[in-house]
Amino acid sequence: MIKLQNLCKSYRGDEIETIALNQIDISMDEGEFVAIMGPSGCGKSTLLNILGMLDQPTSGQYYFKGQDISGYNERQLGQLRKENIGFIFQNFNLIDELSVRENIELALQYHDIPSKQRRARVAEVMDRVGIAHRADHRPGQLSGGQQQRVAVARAVVAKPSLILADEPTGNLDSSHGQEVMKMLQSLNREGTGIIMVTHSSAHADYARRCINLFDGQVLAENLRAVS
């Protein structure tokens, strides 16, 4: 499903060029659960942003479902992203002015789905993540765990084939973190591919495969026993 070849990302500062990613070669099959680990500043988030088409590589190839998308413009990327990828962020990135229900529905708003069907899907997914009783609350009125559940609901409501999670448990206590991981796991079992950046080795254990990054390079790739 995903194949990165010789992918580099560098930032040009005033005087020095910082290399964030250096010749990355990764591939991932459909429905896989991959964890990306590594110390701060190793390029995890940059990699995830590029995988999610939020950012573009400086050089190298990115094949998504067989197409080389490194030359795609913003509009084409947006289309691809909308149809295939859901996001979960460490800081949830919910819109404060919208209610829980509206935040989730937002992910469907930009798809061509009739509003009746939209509402049904939002209700279904809220039930599933157990946030239905808070449907009309604002994100600011929820706990961190509840907010992340909303974020998960928003990520899955459009039924993407791939979910990108950037330290989804980073702002949560362990029991809430566990909860979110369970959700991701069950999604994965239903066939959704997941790429997750995490610091926690315990949470990385939920993944089938773990990629270790160091200084912008892949240090090791190892398979995990799925618990």
Partner: protein, 808 residues
């Protein structure tokens, strides 16, 4: 510490150049307008400060009756008879003096000039304490005395040592210089009239006027010719004088005089210079100050908005400072010092601009406004403090109130006050923009309309020679005309007692039938020569032109029937259906005490209506007659391509034929402009303020749009991650600003409709409908708002989502 705050403030300015520019330009404009309006008001209110007794000096103004047909309600002068009447009625008054201003021919050693002269009662010098170089306040106690100002003495004699020198007035009487006074500053009512030759130069005894004009010492009723000054005793006040003036008016004013002037108004001298505005019902000084203050408040609000928007970028800095131990008070202090730095910077720029503006204004208006720093500086400093602290308070409070961890985490989306507050700001900005735009357009098109209406007279190719009624010139009138007609560049010439826009001629009361008091109406008569109407291209629509061969066409005082050509308006008044039907009809003069003669007017021709008496009043019923003894003006129609030649030939011919009298020539444009100086003043004030306020509200809108787009950077990022396209994001933001914009349309439309209606009510002939202009203003404002917001949204939304998400 403070120094470091200022350094940070300056660095921030440099970092956000666009915002800094907007902030400073906006604030500078606001301060400039406010300071300038205060300066002008102070100047006008401190008028006549050179006269020690100015607090006790009052003038008697005339209040016109509604039946007078005058466009203004109040006139600064009143009839000459009221001076002696009030003097005799109230012996306790310290002094009363009339001053009649006339432009007279003054001859010194065979050199003649036309000079503005004030003919005054001898107590004039006891009311106004002049500074005497020679002589004293008894200068005019002798009937042949004369006072000159220093500059006039220099101009006429080349010296101020001119006591006892002889000055001949109107070639008929001789006066001797009995005093020379220092010039009076420009900020005296004696010098503030915008008309030429009104500045104080010559002061002659009232007695002299009785010898050269039809004036008597005891004065006349109904001439409104004199400024009447009254010096009140210490223990009396304006209300008392008003009561006494009312009683005197009732006791002495003849019944038919009251149809024109219905009362006298006692006014303090210090208000005399704003009288013109008051008379038009336009409180210009208050308006200027209120508008100035409004502009300043808008500018300060703009600053507040922009500063609040900008502070989002600094939430992290604040969090860090707090984490490092800064107290809330210290942070408040830092942000207030920043806004003070900007305000001071803006004030410096504003003062520099005023330095540049004041001489420009003085040249334009003939005033002498001065920027006196000893007075302005304390004021400027307190305004700077007020604006800096006032405008900076809200953003400073907003940003410093957060918990440090919140700020560090990025509470950007929580800062910035309520949506409600911002919507009100947007709506207010918008109402103002629409209002100002509509007003500017209405003023502009109304003026264009006036220009168009006045275009029936060729203003720039018509040269008008004045003072043709001087006794020594009258015998040479015909010779002058014939000689000029033979000269190159002059196409036509004709005499009259009035020229377009100069509001000359005279008025009589007439009716369709003799003695019909109920059907009476005012008629304006103009005395012309045979070619006048055709030379001015006023084409006949019926009947015939005046004919030299027919003796009845020339006015003869001994005959009771006069042949006249009338305008269409006259036909309406007479109830005659068509121009053809009017030919051969008569109408009648109604008896007036002053003009007792019976007259019958016989219509021989009809001309189309035109704005002969100016565009400021409805076209009156008008009659033209040939009456050579009235001629005061010679209108010369120059060939457009030989104007220079025509003017030169005119001057040469005049000098050869009438060497004793200087030529008095003006283009018709001059009379038109003279007439419009008041309207032009109002227009300049309205357009000036409107233009600046509009600019400010656009600046404000720009800031608000930036605020909106920036505040929602992260949200835009999220929406894009979820699949929103560029167009969808822009559409969302544009829609959001549309709500307050729609509110503002609801406020601005009726408001501008009302204000524009009031404005065009000043004019009898106005642009037909205001609504299209208001509609266009609404459309322009909305389109501008949308495009500003759309541009900002586009700038933020086209970035890769990762940058927007990172933005806090």
């Amino acid at each position: 510490m403070i120094l470091s705050y200022i350094t940070i403030a300056l660095r921030n300015l440099i970092k956000h150049k666009l915002f800094a520019l907007i902030n400073i330009v906006g604030l500078t404009l606001g301060l400039l307008i406010f300071m300038f309006s205060v300066l002008l008001a102070a100047y006008e209110e401190n008028h006549d400060h050179m006269f020690d007794k100015r607090e006790r000096i009052y003038t008697l103004a005339s209040k016109f009756a509604p039946t007078s047909g005058e466009a203004i309600g109040l006139y600064p002068d009143s009839s000459t008879a009221y001076g002696p009447l009030i003097r005799n009625r109230l012996p306790e008054l310290e002094a009363v003096a009339r001053a009649v201003h006339r432009i007279k021919q003054v001859t010194i050693d065979n050199e003649s000039y036309y000079l503005g002269t004030r003919f005054v009662d001898n107590d004039f010098t006891r009311i106004f304490n002049f500074e005497y170089i020679h002589g004293d306040e008894q200068a005019l106690d002798r009937p042949e005395g004369l006072i000159l100002t220093r500059s006039l003495a220099q101009q006429l004699f080349g010296s101020t040592e001119v006591m006892g020198k002889t000055v001949k007035v109107e070639q008929s009487i001789e006066l001797q210089v009995s005093a020379v006074i220092e010039d009076i500053a420009a900020d005296s009512h004696l010098n503030s009239d915008m008309r030429p030759k009104y500045a104080l130069g010559l002061i002659a005894p009232y007695h002299a006027l009785t010898q050269i004009d039809k004036f008597t010492l005891e004065g006349e009723m109904g001439n409104n010719s004199a400024a009447i000054y009254v010096l009140l005793p210490e223990h009396r006040d304006q209300a008392w004088l008003q009561r006494e003036a009312d009683a005197m008016f009732d006791a002495h004013t003849p019944e038919d005089g009251r149809e024109y002037t219905e009362a006298l108004r006692v006014r303090p001298l210090i208000l005399s210079n704003t009288m013109v505005w008051d008379a038009m019902g336009f409180p210009v000084m208050i308006a200027a100050q209120v508008l100035g203050l409004m502009v300043l408040i808008i500018a300060a609000l703009n600053y507040t908005n922009l500063a609040a928007a900008q502070s989002f970028g600094r939430v992290r800095e604040v969090g860090l400072r707090k984490a490092l131990g800064a107290s809330k008070a210290q942070l408040l202090q830092q942000f207030l010092i920043e806004s003070l730095t900007i305000a001071s910077f803006a004030m410096l720029l504003a003062l520099a601009a005023i330095e540049w503006l004041v001489p420009l204004y003085n040249t334009g208006t003939g005033k002498a406004v001065a920027l006196d720093y000893s007075q302005v500086l304390p004021y400027a400093i307190s305004i700077t403090l007020l604006v800096g602290l006032g405008a900076g308070a809200y953003p400073a409070y907003q940003i410093s109130r957060h918990q440090p961890i919140e700020s560090l985490r990025g509470g950007a989306n929580k800062a910035g006050g309520s949506q409600w507050f911002r919507n009100i700001l947007i709506a207010a900005q918008f109402s103002l923009s629409i209002f100002m735009l509509a007003m500017v357009m209405v003023v502009y098109f109304q003026n264009a309309k006036m220009q168009e209406l006045s275009a029936s007279f060729n203003k720039s190719d018509t040269l008008v020679l004045g003072r043709m009624d001087v006794e020594a010139i009258v015998p040479k009138q015909e010779a002058l005309k014939q000689q000029l007609l033979n000269k190159d560049g002059i196409a036509a010439a004709s005499y009259s007692n009035a020229v377009p826009f100069q509001s000359g001629g005279y008025r009589r009361i007439a009716a369709a039938r003799a003695g019909d008091e109920a059907g009476r109406f005012d008629v304006s008569f103009v005395s012309v020569d045979f070619n006048y109407l055709s030379n001015y291209r006023q084409e006949l629509i019926a009947g015939r032109a005046f004919d030299k061969q027919r003796s009845q066409d020339i006015f003869d005082d001994s005959r009771s029937t006069i042949n006249v050509i009338v305008n269409e308006r006259m036909l309406q008044k007479l109830g005659i259906a068509s121009a053809e039907a009017a030919i051969g009809q008569n109408f009648h003069k109604i008896f007036e005490e002053k003009y007792p003669k019976e007259r019958e007017y016989h219509i021989i021709g009809v001309v189309a209506d035109s704005y002969f008496f100016g565009v400021h009043q409805p076209i009156p019923p008008t009659g033209f007659m040939v009456r050579p003894e009235d001629y005061r003006f010679l209108s010369l129609h120059l060939m457009p391509n030989k104007r220079q030649q025509g003017v030169l030939n005119t001057e040469q011919t005049w000098d050869a034929l009438i060497p004793n009298y200087p030529i008095q020539s003006k283009f018709l444009t001059y009379y038109f402009r003279l007439f419009y100086r008041i309207a032009e003043g109002i227009n300049a004030v309205i357009s000036g303020f409107a233009g600046i306020a509009l600019m400010l509200s656009l600046i404000g809108l720009f800031g608000l749009a930036a605020f909106m787009a920036q505040r929602r950077t992260r949200e835009i990022g999220i929406r894009k991650v979820l699949g929103a396209s560029l167009g969808q994001v822009i559409g969302l933001l544009v829609w959001q600003i549309s709500k307050p914009v729609l509110w503002s349309v609801l406020i601005a439309v009726p408001l501008s409709y009302l204000a524009a209606g009031m404005y065009i009510d000043f004019y009898p002939e106005s642009i037909r409908s205001i609504l299209p202009f208001v509609a266009i203003a609404v459309i322009i404002a909305i389109v501008m708002a949308w495009s500003i917001v759309a541009i900002h949204a586009w700038r933020v939304a086209r970035q890769r989502p990762v940058y927007s998400l990172r933005y806090e």
